[in-house]
Symmetry: C2
Subunit: 391 residues, 2 copies
């Protein structure tokens, strides 16, 4: 007997039944009146998720495609950007920019630690005269589970470098953490379908401010496939410039409906609880969290170290083999050093309790010193306290 | 009572049941051992479809994305290319190239007519000294239904410009018309999932020669998302550089299995028959085919003009309303002037007979002069003759 796997990785997220049903529907013409109706519902709902007034562009590409779109549409080769790095995905901003011939300056903190407003202010004041066309932020650093405080970081950027574009990777934060493009004065944010949107991979999203649109007008090499102008023109007619991934878009329509029913505040609260339960459970099991400070812990993904006598590979393999639960390895230099539990998208408290209890069984089997029942008990307590607060 | 629509457009193609079933499966991790097994089967099968020895790159993007990839990975800004234009999609090569800062020279023939080896030879001999980094061809011009003879055109290019890269759009020809990248000496061919592959949109494919790979090594701005080097490196490990559209790739695995079972020769023969049946039927109904010469008619799509007393809009609307059959309008300057019947991918002889008979009903209802039963009779005769030949 084999049950479907429980995906507890930071994307792809498990899929709601309603999403799976839509994915298997017969083919639909992407220029049909019916599909225009789908897009007509999707576009305003995307603006709602990003909390922005301008159009949100819908790319058939991974989040990395939208990251390249953000840069190639607004920053010219030879111009300088500042990248705040503390993990694999913030590092990706720098890699993309270099490939595009953009001059990259980076401010680095250790993976597992967050970029703080204090450190950034100090750095920017010391580089007051530097002309940054853009400053690149990462909201939830998926490779570690750090939530960088990008609202405060953006405010700090505006103090000394008010004209710099603030470009944020919100790939694993959107639909999980609080975010407001317009109010926070962020210029571009990108996200991907297989995260908070509860969809399979295949789509990415890009929201932008007027300031970003103006930068695009000055851009010399905006490319073709990701070109802002083409997407904006098509959206006015409720279509896309090129043939889009229709199954994911029809499913997005359904997922956005589910999200509006749940409400943004509730979505954010659900993810915070999943994080708090996960962290409390892991701590109570005596495990070491890779992101030490609670205030900088991502609501989407939690990393921890394998306890004495175990390895990342064996813990993951046993979780999968014995319980059909998939959690993620670390990436690059953190491969084999940390494990990551994703609690993002179509994930419930039940899934967290399931994962913690299975993890306990696996670790105890491997001879690790884990107090019986402590992980689940701590998670339940967090959940009960949250209920009491909101009652 | 409403039955599912019959899509007779040149992509998206209808989906086989087995493909729809796979699309609705629970989410799968894109770095999992199971998904690596999927890619391990998919990659060699893609080489088989393109008939090439080198790796075929798998992009999560539309065919247009793969077209941009072909150019940005091999041609530098300021270099010159020649584009053979006779419709909207061949024109797109020129548009993409201009956006990338490439110098574009074009050889134009009228939409509905094909590029012939004779005309191309004459042109290239008159421009013997021109240094073309690449010559851009379009196999099946989807906007009109012309099949350009790219095997012969490539041979002509090699006579006078042996070092030029031959880059071909095979988006609606692959898995429908005969094609052989290595044998025909084509350098790059691109295609899309929603065509001969019988899948929904979301993926595109790029096959390349050693000559194209060498050009990539000299390329100054290959970009990031479409960068050949990153895809090649990942493929060696049976993975993709960025999160791919997993549902479409799992479905591709199934579709390629169906295609290998049918066999390339049979697939090509099936599409030829669908084309021949469609053309014979339309002619017998007294309709004017937009591509006059049989030898240049695409096996994927057939265009015709609305008869006296009808319009493209009304014929299409009635076909959809009365019979749930969707055929395509013309594009750009041919919008409202021609209609296009797609017979590509998961389409059978039954679908062609259905479409011809419904078209007859609609046209007669509208008062057009169409001999009763003639369209279907002619199509059946073509099919019977083909059976006799192959018996």
């Amino acid at each position: 007997m084999k049950k479907a796997e429980l995906l507890m990785i930071p994307g792809p997220t498990p899929l709601p039944e309603a999403v799976r049903e839509v994915l298997s529907r017969p083919a639909i013409g992407h220029r049909s009146a019916e599909f225009k109706e789908v897009l007509k519902r999707v576009f305003p709902n995307l603006r709602w998720i990003f909390q922005c007034k301008n159009q949100v562009f819908l790319y058939t590409a991974s989040g990395t495609g939208a990251m390249e779109a953000a840069l190639c549409n607004t920053v010219n080769p030879g111009e300088r950007i500042l990248v705040l790095i503390n993990g694999v995905f913030s590092q990706r901003w720098a890699e993309i920019a270099k490939t595009l011939g953009i001059t990259v300056e980076s401010l680095d903190v250790q993976p597992g630690e967050a970029h703080t407003p204090e450190l950034l202010r100090e750095y920017l004041q010391a580089n007051q005269s530097a002309h940054y066309k853009a400053i690149m932020l990462t909201h939830s650093e998926t490779s570690t589970g750090v939530l960088n405080p990008i609202r405060e970081l953006t405010a700090v950027c505006r103090e000394s470098h008010p004209d710099a574009l603030i470009i944020a990777d919100t790939i694993t934060s959107l639909g999980a953490a609080d975010f407001n493009l317009d109010e926070w004065d962020v210029d571009i944010a990108v996200s991907g379908s297989q995260k908070g949107f509860m969809l399979p991979p295949g789509l990415s999203f890009l929201a932008l401010s007027d300031r970003a649109w103006q930068a695009h007008q000055q851009c010399k090499h905006p490319g073709y496939y990701f070109n802002f102008t083409r997407y904006q023109k098509s959206q006015l007619e409720n279509t896309t410039p090129y043939t889009p991934a229709t199954p994911q878009i029809s499913a997005l329509d359904v997922a956005l409906q589910l999200m509006t029913e749940e409400g943004l505040e509730n979505i954010v609260q659900r993810h915070s609880q999943l994080r708090d339960m996960t962290r409390a459970g892991l701590k109570a099991m005596g495990l070491t969290l890779f992101v030490a400070q609670d205030q900088f812990a991502s609501p989407s993904v939690t990393s921890f170290l394998p306890p004495e006598g175990t390895t990342v590979d064996t813990v993951r393999a046993n979780l999968k083999k014995r319980f059909g639960i998939v959690i993620a390895d670390g990436q690059k230099e953190l491969k084999g050093r940390i494990m990551r539990i994703g609690h993002l998208g179509h994930v419930s408290q039940r899934d967290v309790l399931t994962t913690l209890s299975a993890l306990e069984a696996v670790l105890r089997d491997m001879g690790a010193h884990v107090p019986a029942g402590a992980g689940v008990a701590a998670a339940i307590q967090v959940q009960q306290e949250a209920v009491a607060i909101h009652a």
